[in-house]
């Protein structure tokens, strides 16, 4: 059986940040990721991040990813790629499949789960046709693999993912035929919708996709207006000529590992649904298991990195690696930076939802 002090599952922004903090504290860290490359979503985030200087604002996600990997290398953190964590037993033993063939059990004093989230779908007749995909999948294709999924794209959903990916599809050379949004108001930041709109992409609020059609792949779609009770209004249908439909309808935390391990769940609709309960130190109801990033409630890469730091610090501190005073200083700094990101008209709701998780009295 392989042994380590802190095992971090998932090498995205949250997991990388957690691994770095735990390793800086002095713990022996193993970082595993099911993908062939580390970095999670960072390497497809070619846009400049928001926040302030202390959050690396103005720096592109890809460059933040490169920086974090460099730091991990300097700290000699052991990284296993193509390593899927498939189960947690006895609260500390993690079953990992390496390279899709070798079964390994890692006994870890602390486990930090940073498994991320998966895209939600929207179902309509024709949604199984090739050419219908998650917005995140399209973003992976264009920014990681440099493959344009199509040239005439319809985006479903106007949250930040929908509008950022629309913009990046335009950058990649596609035309975005329109963005449909079932709600009466657009969801994403105004600055993101504005740059898509000034590229002449129309937004259709209170609209949805009624159906998509095509022989071997998407060749077109019918859009319909919705009334104030979200019901399609007959007679308002119109067709659009598209070869790709991207769905940006939110994300759901990837909670399976944590729940299979026995972590207590809590429901937080604003942050993606069922998540493992955690306290302010990012510790779950199982004292050896911590969380960071989207699994603890869907937010964004900037917040995931701060939560990762908090989880890494807490895990190392619980093993006696960081002095109480250093721990409190660094933890409170990360907490403060996180609070800054969870302010304003978009952030306050997330801050309240997070506070409700942490404040929840467990039965």
């Amino acid at each position: 059986m392989h042994k380590c002090e802190v095992l971090v599952i998932g090498a995205g922004p949250a997991g990388l940040s957690a691994a770095l903090e735990a390793a800086r504290g002095g713990a022996k860290v193993l970082l595993v990721d099911e993908n062939s490359k580390p970095g999670g979503q960072l390497f497809k985030q070619i846009h400049k991040f928001f926040g302030s200087h202390e959050h690396r604002a103005g720096v592109r996600g890809i460059d933040i990813g490169t920086q974090l990997l460099k730091e991990a290398e300097e700290l000699h953190i052991e990284v296993w790629l193509d390593a899927e964590a498939v189960g947690i037993f006895n609260q500390t033993e993690v079953w990992i499949i390496r390279d899709k063939q070798t079964s390994v059990t890692v006994k870890a004093d602390r486990v930090i789960i940073a498994s991320g989230a998966i895209e939600n779908s929207v179902n309509f007749p024709g949604w199984t046709l090739p050419g219908v995909m998650g917005a995140g999948a399209a973003q992976t294709m264009i920014n990681l693999h440099r493959v344009l999924p199509g040239t005439k794209v319809l985006m479903i959903g106007s949250g930040n993912v929908g509008v950022i990916v629309s913009y990046q599809l335009l950058q990649a050379g596609a035309d975005v035929i329109g963005v449909v949004e079932a709600a009466p108001q657009l969801g994403g930041y105004g600055v993101h919708t504005a740059k898509v709109r000034r590229a002449k992409v129309p937004f259709y609020t209170r609209h949805t996709v009624k159906k998509a059609w095509g022989k071997d792949r998407v060749e077109g779609a019918t859009i319909v207006q919705l009334d104030d009770k979200w019901r399609p209004i007959s007679g308002t249908e119109f067709d659009v000529d598209v070869d790709t439909i991207c769905i940006a309808a939110g994300l759901t935390p990837l909670v399976e590992l944590a729940f299979a391990a026995g972590c207590e769940p809590i429901y937080t609709p604003l942050l993606g649904g069922m998540v493992p309960w955690h306290d302010e130190s990012m510790k779950t109801s199982i004292p050896s298991i911590y969380l960071a990033g989207d699994i603890s409630g869907v937010e964004e890469a900037s917040t995931a990195m701060e939560e990762g730091r908090m989880a890494g610090l807490s895990a190392a501190h619980s093993l006696g690696y960081i002095s109480d005073s250093d721990y409190h200083t660094h933890f409170e700094e990360a907490q403060r930076r996180l609070d800054v990101l969870r302010a304003g008209m978009f952030g306050q709701k997330r801050r309240d939802a997070k506070a409700a998780i942490i404040g929840h009295q467990r039965g």
């Binding site: 400049k48 928001f50 604002a57 103005g58 600055v191 002449k200 969870r342």
Partner: protein, 175 residues
């Protein structure tokens, strides 16, 4: 929705900020027509946690403050038109403008992240906030400074009768 009334619709419906919303926001300080210097114009009307514009400004002309969700405000007296904020803004929501660059010609410098790029002297098709064509413009300079981290800043002149309406240009086709 007809194009004639869509200009009055709000940001959260069209995706583009309306003139009413802009004029009601403290961020929007279009340099007056008698001003002879290039100055930053910010179109950032929502409280989002972001302040690279303030950090980038070498003269302290942009103020956000400690609470980084506060809407940025430009002090035109301090702005030198250096364009650092134009590339620094992650929302691509800042451009520079001046009413009279030469007689009857206004000047705009805006961020641009599409390829291919035009060349100095080229004629480009300038657009408004809804992406509709407004007028032709002449490319003065295409700036790709290293410090701008792959955000091109396009400097363009155009008829100043469209001073306020123009914000960007159409993408160029690959052909």
């Amino acid at each position: 929705m007809k194009d004639v009334d869509i200009y009055d619709q709000p940001l959260k419906v069209t995706g583009a900020v309306s003139m009413v919303e802009l004029h009601n926001s403290p961020c929007y300080t279009l340099p007056p027509t008698d001003r002879r210097a290039l100055a930053a114009v910010i179109e950032c009307v929502e409280e989002i946690p972001c302040n690279p514009c303030e950090t980038a400004c070498p003269t302290g002309a942009i103020t956000i403050g400690k609470d980084i969700t506060t809407i940025p405000v430009v002090d035109l007296a301090k702005c030198t038109g250096c364009s650092l904020c134009v590339a620094a803004c992650p929302g691509m929501a800042i451009y520079l403008k001046k009413y009279e660059f030469v007689e009857n010609e206004a000047y705009i410098a805006f961020p641009f992240e599409y390829l291919p790029l035009p060349k100095d002297g080229d004629t480009v098709r300038l657009v408004d906030r809804l992406g509709n064509y407004v007028c032709d413009g002449t490319v003065l300079r295409v700036v790709q400074a290293k410090r701008n981290d792959r955000t091109t800043v396009m400097h363009v002149s155009y008829p100043n009768e469209y001073y306020e309406r123009v914000v960007s240009m159409e993408r160029l086709s690959k052909a």
